[in-house]
Symmetry: C2
Subunit: 355 residues, 2 copies
């Protein structure tokens, strides 16, 4: 006994607004008023309360507060895999914006997919979060999973959900990247460098953004008068979106022996894998083949050469998502769909087409 490792046992009875009220010679309601600065309280009393709050380092109990007014000032964030720097950036900027707005955030890493996302929704509902933000996972799918949609709709009877993707059959707001525009920027860049044999590596067509990119790719080819060659499109690989996936997919692409001067990778991980593969084959980037990708995470600065990539202005992106979320939490109607515009960051991995 003796030593305490923090709290418990000694557990100095938690102080409440009643204690503060008594000592300040005011009513609990008044304490509550100064704490939430809802109504005006006479300066003198206010100061007495504030002094005591400071003296005891009093912090109002958020549980009691939430129970009483049915607002928790909390946001639940469900994300796919925080280890992917794209999600890390998003979580980061969302958390930042939320904290600024006075909201706390729950972290829910659904690495195990749909069933886990569903489970997290239940737990967030138990916590009575004011709103949930879902980044990645089910909301990235082209065709929304019926079971999940049902689940979300059930949750949305009481808690609004906003996503960075979409969920057909629900009314959740979304703030989404303009994937077509992103591909357009990449293609314009490559075409202007004289590339006419541009491969696509990575991604699943069942993912909305990947699909949209492909559509735009074909569109751009057509406009440029270049024939579409399905042989240089490597999608739906087993480990796609990852380093290994990029390597493998690129390897298979090379085996086809098609002419190729540029590769568009589905994300920075994939691009890094592609570059490893090219290096192993003695192919130089960008002299022999240019490599470009999406997300502009720090991965694109770490590789050598740095990767030309599409940036989303994560800070603004996160802010928009959180703003939409808070509006939804407050019952303010707003645009169901907002689009964030990507921009191109040119690095050394892309250069003029050979010859």
């Amino acid at each position: 006994m003796g030593m305490q490792q923090g709290a418990k046992a000694g557990e100095s009875k938690e102080i409440t607004i009643y204690d503060i009220a008594r000592e300040a010679g005011v009513s609990p309601a008044t304490v509550s008023r100064v704490l939430s600065s809802s109504t005006n309280v006479r300066q003198e009393k206010k100061q007495r309360v504030l002094d005591l709050v400071d003296k005891y380092q009093f912090r109002p109990n958020a549980l009691a507060r939430g129970l009483a007014d049915a607002k928790t000032r909390s946001i639940g964030m469900i994300t796919a895999d925080i280890r992917n720097p794209f999600y890390a950036e998003m979580l980061m900027s969302c958390e930042l914006a939320a904290a600024e707005a006075g909201y706390v955030t729950y972290l829910c890493n659904a690495i195990k997919g749909k069933s886990q996302e569903s489970m997290f929704l239940d737990r967030l509902k138990e916590q009575r979060v004011d709103v949930v933000i879902q980044i990645g996972g089910q909301v990235d799918e082209m065709v929304s999973d019926m079971t999940y949609v049902e689940k979300v709709n059930q949750i949305m009877k009481t808690i609004p959900v906003v996503t960075t993707g979409r969920l057909d059959g629900t009314k959740c707001r979304s703030v989404r990247i303009d994937a077509m525009k992103a591909m357009e920027l990449l293609m314009e860049h490559l075409l202007s460098l004289g590339h006419r044999h541009i491969g696509l590596v990575g991604g699943k067509l069942s993912v909305l953004s990947t699909y949209e990119k492909l559509v735009q790719y074909r569109q751009m080819l057509t406009e440029a008068g270049i024939a579409y060659d399905p042989d240089i499109i490597m999608v739906d690989g087993a480990y796609t979106y990852s380093l290994e996936g990029g390597y493998e997919e690129m390897d298979q692409l090379l085996q086809k022996g098609k002419e190729l001067t540029a590769v568009i990778a589905i994300n920075d991980f994939t691009a890094a894998g592609v570059m490893h593969c090219l290096a192993d084959h003695g192919i130089r980037v960008p002299e022999d083949i240019s490599v470009v990708s999406y997300d502009n995470t720090y991965i694109s600065e770490i590789t050598f050469p740095g990767i030309t990539s599409i940036d989303y202005n994560y800070e603004e992106f996160g802010r928009k998502v959180v703003t939409a979320a808070i509006e939804a939490a407050q019952g303010v109607e707003g645009e169901l769909l907002q689009i964030v515009s990507p921009s191109l960051v040119v690095r050394k991995s892309s250069g003029p087409a050979p010859r």
Copy 2:
């Protein structure tokens, strides 16, 4: 009007255990009992309740529950910068372990340093989290900041805090990496490859683990009969621990013109910067200089060549931290300090010393 964007307005009155109780023909207390499976309830009644819970997809209000029993089954996590994959890995594994144990987690990204960490502590206290886990930030410092220590001690009157570093003057538990051992593994590896001119790049000596590594480095040199040369130790740089920092520090090191066959970088970011710098100078890795580092994040797989790095077994690390946290939350006394052992992952960035 009409369309709803999620909850509000339509806001079908939240269902409670009273509703369930009435419909099941039992008392609210009984519903509570089956929900928390605290006492035995006759199978028949139990089933009736469970059926209704399912029918209405009822989720007990965690606020009310927490208010009533003074346990929130939540953990507050304060971290330095989630974009750093080391922290992402840690957060991830902690969150996973917490979820398995039935705890929800709060995400607090204190990128703005001490004052923000302090602010988050207050907010977590308001939420009455059962325990807070602090990963990085103030707890990494060699000499603990007095003000912060005071703050933590004040919080610890009611909420235990566990860290992955240390905080002198507090009684918080910690689960820490054996930094000395980590350096030992790296040095053994390099020495066995014949290196005798080993530089250190990156880190601040005010950071505990960095300091410990330096101590161990000197120790190993002494044992190997190699003179310690402060000229090949590049620490306390302005942007250290980052890609740019690594580049700059390596650049300065090269300018000294000292003989050098290997470099130990303080983390994977730094190592990547070092490799960029070496590449720019036409120095080959590992033929001319070997590069090794700490953390074994995926960065060490992305660079070319891959980086020999120190791994911490994040899953186990996270599990230990969370276990300690939950014990602390339950008032179970346990070891104040636990050490996690690092291991060496060899990749292509390290090879025999030249000549």
